[in-house]
Amino acid sequence: MKLQQISVFIENQSGRLHEVTKLLGENSINIRALSLADTSDFGILRLIVNTPEKAYDLLKTNEFTVGRTEVLAVVVSDQPGGLAAILGCLDENSINV
């Protein structure tokens, strides 16, 4: 399934992550998945939300540095070897994750 992922550039300062999540929460946007990559100066927050269009526009109008990318979502069965089965399939077809 193809999904929109929202990425937000945030400086590494206290309260910044809270501001993003608070804004989304106040506008009834639900975060389904989240990952955060960071350095000492800045981080990139990647989000999968229920209404990506709305989230993107909302963050943009609130002057966050925000980007959009298309990602592939896969349902992983919650059992030993679940992820490996999917990755194995990609590997056999020489697709790098």
């Binding site: 100066d41 990139i44 980007g67």
Partner: protein, 434 residues
């Protein structure tokens, strides 16, 4: 000690007579030989003979750093190339340096001025001078070197940096004087402590000659107490001749004597260009009345300070200038390197990923100046890969180091975090207490 008693204590009336004679000579010379000046004077409707008194100098047009840039590299030279025996250059605002040339006589003049400087600081034959100004295109190292040799001091041409070696030689050779930037003097002191050297007990230093960047009297006190030396200030800029334009005497250590037999100094209002009364703060303007290779008429230094006309207790008759308190343009001096925000901007605009909004934050960490360049990502240029962002900031850091010559840290910040201004953009935040 006064190196050149005759000129350095010349009564004001004779000095002013000498200045006028030399000025008129200079004007005739440049009008005949330098197209740039001839054009400029023609445009202003003024001929060399119209200058009949020293006060008439205010009728002459100014010369700007931009003029040197426009005539890069040798357009302002007033002598044929075979008479130029030395070329120096300082960092420019656009990547191209500002070039200065010297005839043999210019080098002799410069040597004389630096001999006066060292003598005034109490250095002479028998002294061992460790010269930690950088040698090379920068005028500091060689300028100090020639002057110190002239007075008969034993010169150690160690150049800047390499603190461990500096300290080893200071100790083993028994250096009695050293010259460098004031901030390096402070960082060298810390290195001495790390090496287990107590400057007051283990070294024979008695005086330091410090310049090439602005410093305060509080910093002077700090240096004097830490090293157990007298710290003398020195002023110069390569366009005028290099170090030795003005120098402090060790007796008073209260303002730098301007070598008025070679330079006419004025202080002006940088906005209107009008001469301000002596004692009032203004931009320093110099006219080089003896320089041969590249004479400058009313050169705008952009350094802001005031002149002291009251006689000094050392007996020199030259007017003194106070420490430079600021700039009338936006140049920064960071660890002795001249940095213009426009140079940084020139590097940033080459990257489409960035917005035109940036801020230079200057601070002092211990004794070292630090520079942080904050810049926003351009709208719609968002990258969600940390690696790319890091490559971007490191690439800028490298370019700034290579082109401007200063180490900095680049911090990419969020959109719209740098203050927008209605009028002139604020590009610099200087947190140094100087």
């Amino acid at each position: 000690m006064i190196w050149n008693e005759h000129y350095e204590t010349l009564p004001r009336e004779y000095l002013e007579e000498l200045q006028l004679r030399r000025l008129r000579q200079l004007l005739n010379n440049v009008y005949a030989r330098v197209e740039f000046y001839r054009k400029k004077m023609d445009e202003a409707g003024i001929l060399p003979d119209d200058i009949k008194s020293l006060a008439d100098i205010s009728k002459l047009p100014f010369t700007y750093k931009q003029d040197m840039r426009d005539n890069y590299p040798f357009g302002l030279f007033a002598v044929p190339q075979e008479q130029v025996v030395r070329l120096h250059a300082s960092s420019g605002t656009t990547g191209k340096p500002t070039v200065v040339g010297y005839t043999r006589r210019d080098i002799e003049t410069w040597t004389e001025l630096m001999a006066r400087t060292f003598s005034a600081a109490g250095v002479g034959a028998g002294d061992i001078l460790q010269n930690a100004y950088g040698y090379g295109l920068f005028t500091g190292g060689l300028g100090a070197h020639y002057g110190a040799e002239k007075i008969g001091a034993s010169v150690i041409p160690i150049s800047g940096g390499n603190s461990k070696k500096q300290l080893m030689l200071m100790k083993d050779f028994g250096s009695t004087a050293f010259s460098c930037t004031p901030s390096y003097a402070l960082s060298l002191y810390e290195a001495a402590l790390d090496e287990g050297i107590d400057p007051k007990k283990d070294l024979k230093l008695k005086v330091g000659i410090f310049g090439a960047e602005p410093w305060t009297n509080a910093m002077r006190q700090d240096i004097e107490e830490k090293w157990g030396i007298a710290a003398c200030d020195i002023y110069g800029l390569s366009e005028i001749i290099g170090p030795g334009v003005a120098y402090e005497c060790v007796e008073a250590r209260n303002g730098m004597h301007v070598n008025e037999d070679h330079f006419i100094v004025e202080t002006i209002n940088p906005e209107t260009g009008e001469v301000v009364p002596n004692g009032e703060v203004g931009e320093l303007v110099f006219t080089t009345i003896t320089k041969e290779a590249i004479p400058l008429i009313r050169y705008r230094t952009r350094d802001v300070t005031s002149l002291i006309v009251e006689p000094c207790k050392c007996g020199r008759s030259f007017v003194r200038m106070n420490k430079v308190t600021g700039r009338s343009d936006d140049m920064l001096i960071i660890r002795g390197v001249n940095v213009y925000p426009s140079q940084v901007e020139g590097i940033l605009v080459q990257r489409p990923e960035l917005s035109p909004y940036y801020l230079l934050v200057v601070d002092r960490d211990g004794t070292m100046d630090t520079l942080e360049v904050q810049v926003e990502l351009a709208e719609g240029q968002f990258m969600d890969r940390i690696r790319r962002l890091q490559d971007l900031s490191r690439g800028i850091e490298k370019d700034i180091k290579d082109i401007i010559g200063v180490t900095c840290k680049v911090r990419i910040v969020e959109h719209k975090t740098i203050a927008r201004s209605e009028g002139k953009a604020k590009r610099v935040q200087d947190n140094r207490k100087i």
